[in-house]
């Protein structure tokens, strides 16, 4: 690993000031992704500003009924929080399905959101990767692309976003709070990550010196009946081939509220707005669920190794909604 300078930030103001003034500086949270990428030479910062000592570790109920989550809350603690387990079970489930217990004990909420793709070509210096080296090309497109995107990809990049947590947050209309020397701003989670287009190395709307300080969940009664289903090559400790975060409310057989998001299929957590439009006000039947899935996946395109994901996503959407319908929680 290349040598680098290390600063432990005593407060948020110092953290954002140092990262904005030191050349090539990065924030360091739990390190579970960044340290790995530095060891592989993919990330090459000259200074790390350790933010794990900052007082951003609270999970607080908001006056309107929402919840504010400090960016340094560890994934394991968020998953086990009683408020999250009862009001936003999809978020607990998504967190618990990600990584391993050891990693969840360390990984932070903010770091989880800005973790980078696990595309093997991104890690491999012998391969062309437009994320690692803009303009170099993409060896995944003609290569082994079983784990790659079927929605929102471009001819420059087909990598997926690896987070499970972010898929649940996408379904829950979460808002991300960012801090920099220029002040505070709030960005809907759905606008945080970017699709690759011609600049796959630009993965989020964050500027290099912006720190994620919190994630806020709105008051969302439908989330009490929510679930996360993750399909992967082994039963645990693997990234998603396809995942579905869903919240559903049904009254007298009709869908009165719904939230749906997909993981493992795109460069960002994919909110299924098309499917939601089909579902809302329609009868809660398998036929409607299938029609909703097809509406969302109409724009999906597969490559030789990953075309199966489109059908897999279709079936996983239907199965997740059926599960919420039949376990009684959606009624």
């Amino acid at each position: 690993m290349r040598p680098f300078g290390y600063v432990s930030a005593p407060d948020v103001a110092t953290a954002v000031r140092v990262v904005s003034t030191e050349p090539n500086a990065k924030f360091l949270g739990g390190g579970t992704n960044l340290v790995d990428l530095m060891r592989e030479g993919v990330e090459r910062p000259d200074t790390l500003v350790d933010v794990t000592g900052l007082p951003l570790t609270a999970i607080e109920e908001l006056p309107g009924g929402g919840v504010r989550i400090g960016a340094l809350v560890r994934n394991a603690r968020l998953a086990a929080d009683p408020l999250i387990r009862s009001r936003y079970p999809v978020l607990s489930r998504a967190l618990l399905s990600g990584a391993s217990a050891q990693l969840r004990n360390v990984a932070t909420v903010g770091g989880n959101l800005v973790q980078r793709t696990r595309c093997p070509y991104f890690y491999d210096h012998a391969s062309a990767c437009n994320k690692r080296e803009p303009g170099a090309g993409c060896d995944a497109i003609g290569g082994v692309n079983r784990n790659h995107a079927v929605l929102g990809a471009s001819e420059h990049c087909i990598a997926t976003h690896p987070s499970d947590m972010a898929v649940a947050l996408a379904a829950l209309d979460a808002v991300v709070e960012l801090e920099s020397v220029r002040g505070t701003r709030r960005v809907p989670l759905l606008d945080l990550h970017r699709l690759p287009g011609e600049t796959p190395h630009v993965e989020t709307v964050l500027t290099a010196d912006e720190l994620i300080t919190a994630v806020e969940l709105p008051h969302l009664p439908v989330a009490a009946a929510s679930h996360y289903r993750k399909v992967r090559d082994r039963a645990s400790y693997a990234f998603a081939l396809v995942s579905v975060a869903a919240a559903l409310h049904v009254r007298e057989g009709v869908v009165t509220d719904v939230r749906l998001a997909l993981g493992g299929v795109a460069a960002k957590p994919w909110r299924a707005h098309q499917a939601e439009r089909v579902l809302l006000g329609a009868e809660a039947t398998e036929e409607v669920f299938l029609r909703a899935a097809d509406a969302e996946l109409a724009a999906a395109t597969g490559l030789p190794d990953n075309t199966f994901k489109i059908e897999l996503a279709r079936r996983t959407i239907v199965a997740t909604l059926q599960e919420l319908l039949t376990d009684g929680s959606a009624a």
């Binding site: 690993m1 290349r2 040598p3 680098f4 300078g5 290390y6 360091l28 390190g31 579970t32 340290v35 790995d36 530095m38 060891r39 790390l48 350790d50 794990t52 394991a76 998953a79 086990a80 009683p82 387990r85 009862s86 079970p89 607990s92 489930r93 618990l96 399905s97 990584a99 391993s100 217990a101 050891q102 990693l103 004990n105 360390v106 039963a235 645990s236 400790y237």
Partner: protein
């Protein structure tokens, strides 16, 4: 650093991992380097009682924290692993032991897992499916998983009876 109850002063570059500090600087080679990328769990140690992968931890971030490696462990799990064939080559065992100690504490605190049926259940039963899921961060290439699950279950049951 606080390691196995003792205070040690180390001068390290920021890029040194906790794993390398333990093994190369302190000679605590019980903690193993498997993948060095957070994918196998062989390097699992306890920090303030919580299990983490020491390979992805920069040592500088853990100054002042209470670190426990397998050398500092004296736990019924160790005898249970021997009695239940919870190992073959033994390379993953220090990580498995530290991980299982952390896991039992998480379970005792009421933490759910991905296979917990009722998320709000305050005291989920530690079934074999729960043990396998909660221990999934520790790979065993010899495939001693059945013995590992038997060992963990035996100790969990004994702790509940105590």
């Amino acid at each position: 650093m606080r390691i196995n109850g003792a205070t040690t002063v180390l001068e390290l570059e920021p890029r040194v991992s906790l794993l390398d500090a333990l093994r190369d600087e302190l000679g605590l080679t019980g903690t193993k380097k498997g993948c060095d990328q957070g994918a196998c769990g062989a390097c699992t140690v306890l920090v303030d009682g919580e299990r983490i992968n020491s390979c992805l931890a920069l040592a500088v971030q853990y100054s002042g924290r209470e670190i426990t490696t397998v050398e500092g462990v004296d736990h019924p799990l160790q005898a249970a692993f021997v009695a239940n064939d919870g190992l073959q080559c033994g390379y993953c065992t220090p990580g498995q032991i530290c991980s299982a100690i952390g896991m039992l504490a998480e379970h005792a605190a009421g933490a759910p897992s991905a296979v917990t049926e009722h998320l709000c259940e305050p005291d989920p039963e530690l079934t074999d499916a729960e043990i396998r899921e909660r221990m999934s961060g520790n790979l065993c290439r010899c495939g001693a998983y059945n013995g590992i699950v038997d060992s963990v279950r035996e100790v969990a049951v004994a702790e509940q009876l105590r």
